[in-house]
């Protein structure tokens, strides 16, 4: 079981506190949604969890190891997709190359990731020619191809139309059966359908850390209550 624990973790710029202090112990299973309005600190929390940002104070650990190490055992999908000026296949291969993987079995792994992301027919197209939905799926495939122990998805549905969003939802739900997922999102209906645990943020503070059903039926904090009423949106 993958466990994420934060101990008084805090991100500051000068005197301004951007996030935290956060203390939590989380056994990840299925989909854990990171919810909150814009500017709540969801992306920052994901970057902090992944170890691309180090806390100014406190610690972030994955099963006892600090988040900055072994980053490549986790898959991370960026909010703004980064597109290498290569084919789709080469874009996905880049995650394997970054792990120092050489040799022939790379191609099998890439094929598998392409299939899961429904991108087989676009494999040899220059990535710059993909549509918005395809781009998001390519980014997901790149995060998946290394067989990560856990997936961190930063707003995987941002900017997608209903059809593309539905396709993405199917893929993520399927992946979640074998890989625990930490996912930043702000759509309530979709989150309710997909997630089994919720971390709710507002103004850089973790307001709720509870199972999804409890969060949606009986939110404990006023902030979560207001958010669910649509008042903070």
């Amino acid at each position: 079981m993958t466990q994420l624990s934060l101990n008084q973790a805090k991100i500051t710029i000068g005197k301004e506190i951007l996030l935290g202090p956060i203390t939590l112990k989380l056994k990840l299973d299925g989909i854990t949604a990171v919810l909150g309005p814009n500017g709540a600190g969801k992306s920052l929390f994901l970057a902090l969890s992944h170890g691309t940002i180090t806390p100014n104070l406190g610690s972030v650990l994955w099963s006892g190891e600090t988040a900055t190490t072994n980053r490549n055992t986790r898959g991370y999908m960026l909010q703004t997709p980064v597109v290498l000026r290569r084919t789709v296949r080469a874009n996905i291969d880049f995650a394997l190359l970054s792990q120092g993987l050489k040799g022939d079995n790379r191609s099998t792994k890439i094929d598998e990731a392409l299939k899961r992301a429904q991108l087989m027919d676009r494999a040899n197209a220059p990535a710059a020619t993909l549509s918005g939905g395809e781009l998001r799926r390519m980014n997901l495939a790149r995060a998946l191809v290394t067989n990560p122990k856990v997936l961190l998805l930063d707003e995987p549905f941002a900017g997608l139309d209903p059809a593309a969003s539905a396709a993405m939802e199917t893929i993520i739900t399927e992946v979640a059966e074998s890989t625990p997922i930490l996912m930043a999102h702000h759509d309530l209906v979709q989150t309710r359908r997909m997630s089994n645990h919720v971390l709710f943020f507002k103004n850089g503070q973790l307001c709720e850390n509870t199972c999804a059903s409890a969060f949606f039926f009986k939110p404990q904090s006023d902030e979560a209550h207001q958010f669910l009423q649509g008042q903070l949106l």
Binding site: T52, Y76, V82, L84, R85, F94, L97, S98, A128
Partner: protein, 233 residues
């Protein structure tokens, strides 16, 4: 007009002196370009991605050296290679090797600066992915060079153009010795001063043709690159 016809006739006649001069010119400048590119491209890319104290100073120095006067480089290499100089024992002065050394020094900063400028924006675009995947430094350098390969080829061609066209450095370290170190530009300078304008003009036309070919190649390469560029913001 008559002078032009004579010059063109001279080119078409396949005059051996002319061919020796052109071949030496190309040999010296191509060797210098190859050697300079081999070192300048990785250095330029490393300067784009690495952060260390003094980096900006190095960049300022390298851009300033783009405008290095060829006669200065010639003088410097002359002092280095002359009998009483530190490398005098190798007896390289007034040989094609000395000319290659001088041109390499002359165009190294050009290729370095242009490479750095070409890959810097790419690094800015890719860095969040590099960090998310924990991509090793050597792979980052390879990646931005490869993905900016079209712009980098243009940097190489700019260096080659500069090397082929300069006269100050090669005349000082080569000595313009007939049949040994006489290249196109030095011949033009000499023949013009002697009043032998046909030969000078013939060589000038050849230089111009090479310049056109280089330009054509640059444009072709740039067009090839467009397919992989982002088509939208």
């Amino acid at each position: 007009m008559e002078i032009f016809t004579t010059a063109i006739g001279l080119i078409l006649s396949g005059n051996t002196d002319l061919i020796t001069i052109i071949t030496l010119s190309l040999r010296v400048s191509l060797s210098a370009t190859l050697i300079a590119a081999l070192f300048a491209i990785p250095t330029g890319a490393a300067l784009a991605i690495l952060q260390f104290p003094g980096r900006r100073l190095l960049l300022v120095i390298s851009s300033a050296f783009m405008a290095l006067p060829p006669v200065m480089v010639g003088l410097f290499v002359y002092l280095l290679l002359s009998r009483s100089g530190p490398l005098g024992e190798f007896g390289l002065l007034f040989t094609p090797t000395a000319m290659i050394i001088a041109q390499t020094i002359l165009i190294f900063p050009i290729i370095l600066s242009l490479t750095q400028q070409a890959v810097q924006p790419l690094n800015r675009e890719y860095i969040s992915l590099f960090n998310a995947l924990d991509t090793p430094r050597s792979l980052r350098i390879q990646t931005i060079i490869w993905d900016a390969r079209f712009a980098v080829s243009i940097a190489i061609l700019a260096g080659f153009g500069r090397a082929l066209a300069e006269v100050g450095a090669v005349i000082i370290v080569g000595g313009n010795i007939n049949g040994l170190t006489r290249v196109m530009t030095t011949t033009i300078a000499l023949e013009t001063s002697k009043g032998n304008l046909q030969l000078a003009l013939a060589l000038g036309l050849v230089l111009l043709m090479i310049a056109f070919s280089v330009s054509l190649l640059t444009h072709t390469i740039a067009r090839m690159g467009e397919k992989y560029q982002m088509v939208r913001a």
